[in-house]
Amino acid sequence: MCLALPMRITAVDGALATIATAGLEQRASLMLVPEAKVGDYVLVHAGFAISVLDEAEANETLELLREISAFAADDGVEADDAG
């Protein structure tokens, strides 16, 4: 259950992280994953990170999600990554 999106932590300020994915930046609480650090991919649900993902594993989800994007499919150009 529940919508959760893999996003990358770009900054940490106490228990709050700045997280980003293609074209989107947000803040999320790290209270449920206190071990998370800058550079980690986390699964974000309702404003909270709930799990730290392995980078390769995170990329797998992002790839699957991007499959439907016409940008990736038509132009053969990688959609702008969270990097």
Partner: protein, 343 residues
């Protein structure tokens, strides 16, 4: 009148203050000979062809957002409604309802933005009205624009002209306006690399009309509609229902920017139901489709135009979406307000 000033109730009451406001802000911004006469009604020469006539009220909040503002939206919205009738915009009227206390500097900026959009579309704002209401009776500013245009084709555009086998063409990426508004509202705190697509599209439609003339005749252009509230899904679902034909579109062919995709994935929205203010759906006979796509791609707001599907006699009245995996599902009209979900 200086920029530090605010709009007062007195500005709406028809006397000298009103006259000053009209000249200083509106005539100044929209500058054209008809408007400058400040007659109660603008006298216009009739066009040769049929007339298209439309009106729209604009109550968008916030008034400014990435990629546009209420001024630009007011002009583009009406120009685009005329464009769906294949009508060249001839003249616009703009009626302003302004909340007492609204900063004059902001009013000037928004009028300048409207004027820019109008100039781009080649249409003068020839008449208007101004009312000022008490504080809190309007959300800052409401604008109603009415437009008259000359229909440049002789045949009937519309759902009854659509035929089995026609191509469905979309002029570019969807969801940008809705996400830009969401971001500007700040209700869900995120920043997204998105700008509203708000733009006047007469040039795009004119290019499409020229293209069909060169590729089989005007009648190859069957139907035009801009996917505003309710998004692409609503335009297609209404068309299928009205025409009694089926429509099939390829999900992978529908352009969605990465940022819009991310916001939709995060909040649980479907990009196909999101509002756009600078996009057009064109239904075109198959023999003219390539020419139309090529012509629209050369226009400023149509660079990402592409064929996304076709009209079919199968599943009459319903729209099918083919997923990238080859499976299909029905596209149904969205219901009610746009709500984010956690599930």
């Amino acid at each position: 009148m200086t920029d530090g000033e605010r709009v007062l109730l007195g500005h709406g009451s028809g006397g000298k203050l009103y006259r000053d406001l009209v000249k200083d802000v509106f005539v100044n911004a929209f500058a054209n000979p008809v408007l400058e006469r400040l007659d109660d009604a603008a006298a216009l020469a009739p066009p040769r062809g049929r007339i298209a006539f439309t009106t729209d009220s604009h109550v968008v909040q916030p008034l400014r957002f990435a990629g546009g503002d209420i001024g630009r939206l007011a002009v583009a919205g009406t120009v685009n409604d005329l464009a769906t009738a294949a009508a060249r915009p001839l003249a616009l009227a703009a009626a302003f309802i302004i909340e007492e206390g609204f900063p004059l500097a902001d009013l000037r900026d928004l009028c300048a933005s409207a004027a820019t959009a109008a100039r781009e579309a080649g249409v003068p704002i020839v008449t208007g009205d101004t009312k000022v209401v008490e504080r809190a009776a309007a959300d800052g500013l409401f604008i109603t624009t009415t437009g008259v245009g000359e229909i440049v084709v002789s045949h009937e555009l519309g759902s009854s002209s659509v035929r089995d086998g026609d191509a469905v063409i979309l002029s570019g990426s969807i969801g940008d306006h809705a996400v830009a508004i969401l971001a500007a509202r700040g209700q869900f705190t995120f920043t997204a690399d998105v700008r509203s697509d708000c733009a006047p599209l007469w040039g795009l439609v004119e290019a499409a009309v020229d293209a069909v003339r060169g590729a089989g005749g005007e009648e190859a252009l069957r139907f035009l509609r801009d996917p505003t509230r309710g998004g692409l899904t609503t335009v297609l679902a209404e068309l299928a229902e009205e025409s009694g034909l089926g429509i099939e579109v390829e999900e992978a062919a529908i352009p969605v920017s990465p940022a819009v995709r991310s916001v939709c994935d995060l909040l649980g929205y479907d990009p196909l139901t999101l509002a756009n203010e600078g996009k057009m759906v064109l239904i075109v006979a198959p023999e003219a489709a390539d020419a139309v796509v090529a012509a629209v791609q050369k226009t400023k707001y149509g660079r990402e135009a592409r064929r996304i599907g076709f009209v079919t006699a199968a599943h009459p009245g319903r729209v099918a979406l083919r997923t990238p995996f080859g499976t299909r599902r029905v596209l149904d009209m969205p219901v009610g307000e746009l709500l984010p979900r956690i599930c």
